[in-house]
Amino acid sequence: MASPRIAGKNARLYVADVPLYLDAFEAEDQIELNLEDGTPFGADWREMTLIDGQISLSINAFMDTKRPPDFTADYVTDRAYWDTAIDGSNNIKANPNVPIIFVPGASALRGDPAKFLNCILGSLNINTPRSGLGKLQGRFAASGQYGNGFIIAQVEQSFTGGVETFIPTSGGTDIKVAGTLGTMAALCVYKKSGSSSFTIKVQDSTTSGGSYGDAITFAAFTAVGAQFKRDVVDAGKQFHRVSVYGDATETLGLIIVSTNI
């Protein structure tokens, strides 16, 4: 018996701090492994040798006029691409890397698999046909390691100021592998109700209900944003949870994806 098919319509995609899937209609995550023919004399069958890997992402979206997910603020969708590479003065950014989180599965809940990586915009086509909708075709090149991880937080909730909140409230998310080197994670805060400072950490433990230590501490932030971080200070712990601490009570909409490396 075949396994259940996954309908593409439920995929989610976060480009920097924008939940772009609400305006997008197609995404393709391309993994290419670079192989070189290493066959010596005398062999009857070619023997390929793996050199390394690289990732690119194609993301096609509609040109829309409001910022997702609330669709209240004026925001033309091309900015989700443009801001990844060009600064506010129309100059190429010195550091254009942005995290992209891609959830190709049927749901995007805590514990579901997700892909994530740091990317640079490679090209953007803005097409406006007289007889159709304006569309955006973007292509990104990965600027580092590919993350094949799990969603460890996907919430829109109020966080009480001055109190450390854990996601989940007890235990942790099983990310299936203990890892040997460290931890890699991406954070997308796409909604924030105020301007107070928040700090978010990924914590890990060898057992779900065990003792948790800090694996990754994202930079403190006061507005919506996205971060990608790879840290080797902690390793070998299979269960991850999220710690959220804010100076004042605010509602955040966020998704965090992590894996062990």
Partner: protein, 146 residues
């Protein structure tokens, strides 16, 4: 709930016939594509398992499809540099408004300078004569929403 889609028919494209002011040639156009290309170079060092790309610079081009039309201020004369083609090779200003004349918060304006790269005219026995112009970017591409 989805946002309001931007309909292509509202797009506006202006380009200068010479080194002067831009001219609106949208009335005869039917499709425009702005291609932004960023040049990423492989900067991967020894010992790394995944390729690391570094952004070097950017360029852009514009593909503009139009019905072929003659007369003062329409595509034939504007793109060809006038009756004597004196400004065919001129570096020209352009403006592209994907959602109608802006700039405003929901009507971005792209602008910069371009050179005409190609402009084939296609005359079919059974159809309307068309002109497809390609422009190559010759400056910074600017996006404005206010």
């Amino acid at each position: 709930m989805a946002s309001t889609r931007i309909v292509g028919k509202d797009a506006v494209f202006k380009v200068a016939a010479d080194t002067g002011a831009v001219v609106d040639i949208s009335a005869d156009g039917n499709e425009i594509t702005l291609n932004l290309e960023l040049n990423n170079e492989d900067g991967t060092g020894f010992g790394v398992s995944w390729r690391e790309f570094t952004l070097i610079d950017g360029t852009f081009s514009i593909d503009y499809a139009s019905w072929y039309a003659t007369g003062t201020g329409v595509i034939d004369e504007v793109l060809m540099g006038g009756p004597t083609m004196a400004t065919l090779f001129a570096k020209r200003l352009f403006e592209f408004h994907p959602n109608g004349i802006g700039p405003s918060s929901t009507k971005p304006k792209y602008s910069g300078s371009v050179f005409l790269a190609s402009a084939p005219i296609s005359a079919n026995r059974s159809g309307i004569t068309t002109m497809r112009a390609r422009f190559s970017g010759a400056s910074q591409l600017a996006r404005a929403v206010a």
